[in-house]
């Protein structure tokens, strides 16, 4: 049986879940430290929501064990739920309750009473900017963005050790997304946050670390630079310069033989937009710029290192796991 340590807020050890014939989770293991904001990513049907539902005690894993704040979810689900705030996908809320009444009701269920209940409700309302007229409105009359804020206010109402937010920005406009991002930013350090989202730019900005799962397997885990290092080969630079292609090629040949020109586009007044790519990793961008500037035949106006975004990492990580999966099935078929 797996044992938990208080070093982690969340620990999943070998979680396996099957629905009928479909195996949704395959011995999924990961850990999250206290106060971290972790992005939980994966394509549709990867097993994200199932994992979250196991962590909240809503469903049981067929095998493996999950711990929240050092407590086993399977053995003591109620103690876990006392320490957990959860906002599920689509954020279901009772339509005919007023915002404040809803939060009071949920607070009582989470063990808040009397003065503490009043304080926590007003803090949550204020924190999610719902404390003025919105708190007296019926939930059914609220816009999508306000409803999401009510969902987050409810999740953090009892100051949980762990907050799980499943797609908190789904269907929101850019202004509302920015607001939710600020809310998540304010949670940093106060509670451990697991954030599932399909908006990768959102995760890139908000999260300290990223977990990527695909077909029930953990395919990547780490900070953005760590994942970049693991999944993205080489470097890409974008240059706007004046000079001949031959001169540029000569500089590259002399100092960076692995680097190639992959794009050459003429701009106005003899300026060119050039993309340079190399398979080498950790090539210092300033060295490349310095060498280009030393050439008398080249004038550099703009210079940018194109860093791999989370989207590139996500695609690379999930593609690699699909490749592994398909080669394994081919091997089985051949055998």
């Amino acid at each position: 049986m797996a044992k938990s340590t208080r070093e982690f807020s969340i620990e999943a050890a070998g979680l396996t879940k099957t629905y009928g014939r479909a195996k949704v989770l395959h011995e999924l293991s990961f850990a999250v430290r206290p106060g971290e904001v972790v992005g939980f990513l994966g394509p549709n049907g990867a097993g994200k929501s199932t994992t979250m539902r196991i962590l909240t005690g809503l469903i049981r894993a067929d095998a493996g064990e999950a711990f929240v704040d050092g407590i086993s979810v399977a053995r003591e689900p109620q103690r876990v739920q006392e320490r957990l705030g959860y906002m599920p996908e689509n954020n279901p809320l009772p339509e005919d309750l007023r915002v404040k009444d809803y939060l009071r009701f949920r607070g009582r269920l989470k063990g808040l009473h009397g003065k503490r209940l009043r304080t926590q409700v007003s803090q949550s309302l204020e924190w999610c900017d719902l404390h003025r007229k919105h708190s007296r409105r019926l939930i059914g009359q609220l816009s999508k963005g306000l409803r999401q804020r009510v969902g987050i206010a409810e999740a953090v109402l009892a100051q949980p050790a762990v907050t799980i937010l499943d797609e908190p920005t789904i269907g929101l406009d850019p202004h509302q997304i920015l607001l939710i991002r600020r809310l998540i930013e304010q949670l940093r350090g106060k509670t451990t946050v697991i954030l599932s989202s399909h908006i990768l730019a959102e995760v890139e900005v908000s999260c300290d670390r990223v977990l990527i799962i695909n077909q029930g397997h953990l395919v990547a885990a780490g900070t953005l630079p760590e994942l970049r290092h693991e999944f993205i080969r080489g470097e890409t630079f974008e240059v706007v310069c004046k000079g001949s292609r031959e001169a540029l090629e000569a500089v590259l040949q002399a100092h960076f033989p692995t680097m190639q020109i992959t794009q050459w586009e003429d701009l106005e007044d003899d300026w060119q937009q050039v993309t340079l790519e190399t398979d080498e990793t950790n090539l210092p961008a300033e060295d490349v710029l310095r060498q280009l500037q030393t050439s008398p035949e080249l004038t550099v106006r703009e210079w940018r290192e194109r860093r791999a975004r989370l989207e590139d990492i996500f695609l690379a990580a999930t593609r690699r796991s699909w490749d592994v999966e398909s080669s394994a099935s081919n091997t089985t078929a051949d055998a």
Partner: protein
């Protein structure tokens, strides 16, 4: 306990905020009031052996068949459809607390509506103001026995309603399921026995036991003012069993 009280308060509020509850209550009182009038007209036309309360409560199955499905069909099915059942069970509230709170709120309203029917004899007595009419209409034995029967059988019916609602996310399906199960509980065993559909049934299960399982079997004792522990055990245990099944369904279908 505090959590259960919070949930009961929430469920009662949900019930009172729902139009279906009022439609059900008005329909039930209308049917019961009409039936009480029929009983009074029969009494005035010719001498009846049975007490008016006995005749009135003999009609209990009609309100049960209308009222209980309308009252309970929304309880779990609607929460499941909206997804709020999931968020409710992600709090420290257990499935048993959720199911029992829904049961207590619906059962409380069921009893409240039946308690309103006590106004029928009281209004009649006020209107006629004759000692023999008062004595006949407010005879304590049949009245107390009748209401005790309504309270006990009602617990089972409401539990069946909550269970039916836990099986589906469609209110209409839940209502139809509840109606069908209560209908079978009321007429199932006698129909099987009388039609000879299962002639060996009495060999397998003693007739006495089959009769004991009939919801209507204990009615006569109650309206005579005889309150036996056997039917009390039957109704309470079957209510708990049905609610237990509902808890299992809620736990497994989150």
């Amino acid at each position: 306990m505090r959590r259960l009280l919070t949930l009961i308060h929430y469920e009662a509020r949900n019930l009172y905020a729902s139009a279906a509850t009022y439609v059900a209550a008005v329909l039930t009182l209308l049917v019961m009031g009409t039936w009480y009038c029929v009983v009074l007209f029969d009494l005035s036309a010719q001498e009846q052996e049975a007490a008016p309360a006995t005749l009135f409560f003999g009609f209990f199955f009609v309100p049960a068949l209308i009222f209980v499905p309308l009252l309970t069909m929304r309880s779990v099915a609607e929460e499941r459809r909206l997804g709020t059942l999931q968020t409710l069970l992600a709090t420290p509230a257990t499935a048993s607390e959720v199911v029992f709170s829904k049961f207590i709120a619906a059962y409380g309203f069921y009893i409240f509506v039946w308690a309103l029917s006590l106004s029928f004899p009281l209004i009649t007595v006020q209107y006629f103001d004759q000692p023999d009419v008062t004595q006949r209409l407010l005879e304590p034995g049949p009245l107390i026995g009748g209401y005790a029967f309504i309270a006990l059988s009602g617990a089972l019916f409401v539990a069946v309603g909550i269970f039916s609602s836990s099986l589906t996310r469609t209110q209409l399906v839940a209502g139809m399921l509840c109606f069908s199960i209560i209908f079978i509980l009321l007429v199932g065993v006698p129909v099987i026995q009388n039609t000879g559909f299962a002639p060996d049934l009495n060999l397998l299960v003693p007739e006495e036991f089959l009769a004991y399982l009939q919801v209507t079997y204990h009615f006569d004792d109650f309206v005579r003012g005889v309150i036996d522990t056997r039917p009390v055990v039957y109704y309470l245990s079957s209510t708990l069993m049905v609610l237990g099944l509902a808890v299992l369904v809620v736990e497994s279908k989150v």
